[in-house]
Amino acid sequence: MTDPATPQAGAPTAVPAQPGAPTEPAPTMPPPVPVAPAPPPGAIVLEKVTRWYGNVVAVNDVSFSVGAGVTGLLGPNGAGKTTILHMLAGLLRPSAGKVLIAGQPAWRNPAIYASVGLVPEREAVYDFLTGREFVEMSARLQKLPDTKGAAAKAIATVDLESVAGRRVGTYSKGMRQRVKIAGALVHEPPILLLDEPFNGMDPRQRLHMMELLRARAAAGAAILFSSHILEEVERLADRVLVINAGRLAAAGNYRQIRRLMVDRPHTFHVRSSDDRRLAAAFLAEPTVFGAELADGLLTVRVTEFSGFTRIVARVARDSGVSLFEVAPTDDSLESVFEYLTSRR
């Protein structure tokens, strides 16, 4: 039973961008850097965008619009998240449709990079430069008036001052990630694109980075980051775009997405003191539409995950059966994505 109260969540048309949800900069943050001009509501726009690789479709007729605030691009590996971010960064041509950055086409338009920062997923940074040299290079190529000052500020923002004089080749994965972010932030872009930004970071760095991104969003920046980890998106994103198999499976705030994920048909394995009697009792419940016994294992099919979890204990108690184990069978994120996609 899906919730009819959120009909637009999976709508194929562009979902209007939500104004940045209230975010407060955490007290431990370095002072939030004032962001240049605030982006319009449609800072990032995809209009019916499709991208083919040969005869494989990587992104299929995707439309969305992202404004100020933090938006999470959630999906399993290979869903098309990187392809979308690369098209937004002007590094891939859309096979069909429009990709706009601040109203300008992203493809073949280097001028957009003055207002965009990209943090690519690949770790590659010039190994022979020091962290400071790398960020200063970014500042110089952005034609900033005070390259050293801007670089120092960006390095401080990502908390990398202590190793800024060391060659990037000696950096850990997390340090490389942060130096890339400093390079992308140095010109304080109103639009920030990050591909799996938390990969390789330890929990403390992750927290720090989330605070940093929230602060920039609060200052008016439009931030789009990809992730295959639900928990990251939950903690950071005001708005979530779910991508699976190249399609936009759902869009909305985290709570709406979460409900879609929970209120879906599900299968449980149940072990108890009397499986046969329990199966009969379950079948009398409206949320259960199937129960079968095979190899001493009771499999129960239910219409709704949370509905079943609410009744399971009561049904067992009423029929005098002791429950040993109740286990959902397919709670992987992949199956959730598949379900969301199949709803369309």
């Binding site: 041509r93 280097p110 990079y113 940074v125 952005q142």
Partner: protein, 239 residues
Amino acid sequence: MIFSQVASVTLRALVGRRRTVLMILLAAVPILVALLVRANTVGIAEVGQTLDGLVVRIILPLIALVFGTAALGMELEDGTGVHLLTKPISRLTIVLAKVGVAGALTAALVVPTTIIAAVLLARPFADVGALAISLAAGTLVGSFLYAAIFAALGVITSRGLIIGLGYALIWEGLLAGILPGSQIFSVREYVRGIVNTLSPDTIDSIVGSGAIVYAAIALVAAIGIAAYRLATYQVRGTD
């Protein structure tokens, strides 16, 4: 400022690695050969032909191949190039800086080695000055032209090194000397033409002084193609 920033990062990427040591060794070969010749003779008459066969045909394209493809193509392959591409800077500026550095490095190795080998090989009372200057000018132009061609190749294909090697050995090394009319499409012939224009006795040439025009056209074309391909560059292997 943009040009010098891109150039200095490129220079640091290319110098100070095992690659540079190998290139210096390669560039030393003509000098070693000349020393061997010198140890047994007082010098040879065919200095131009000898250095054409050794330097212009083999050493120059190989060194330019390595620096030219490394300057741009390799950076795009290993992913560091993205940091350059996502900046509001002209793609032509990027190409000019890359070709400039790759060409200058190639010339820094090839031109001195050519001059030294020419001086060592020349017979007593030969016009060493004309010999050295003409060969230096020819290899200098050749360095930048080859660097531009190989830089363009590195943007066009991810297999720039191997395709460039095939082009250098098969087309420049073999076919262009044999097929009639093919000379106007051969960098080696341009180098010979420039040498011949400055010092007719050093080497013979089919294209002659026209080589300067051809070389200029080829250089502009290679840089233009590289800049266009870079402007429409699409990252490989996503998702």
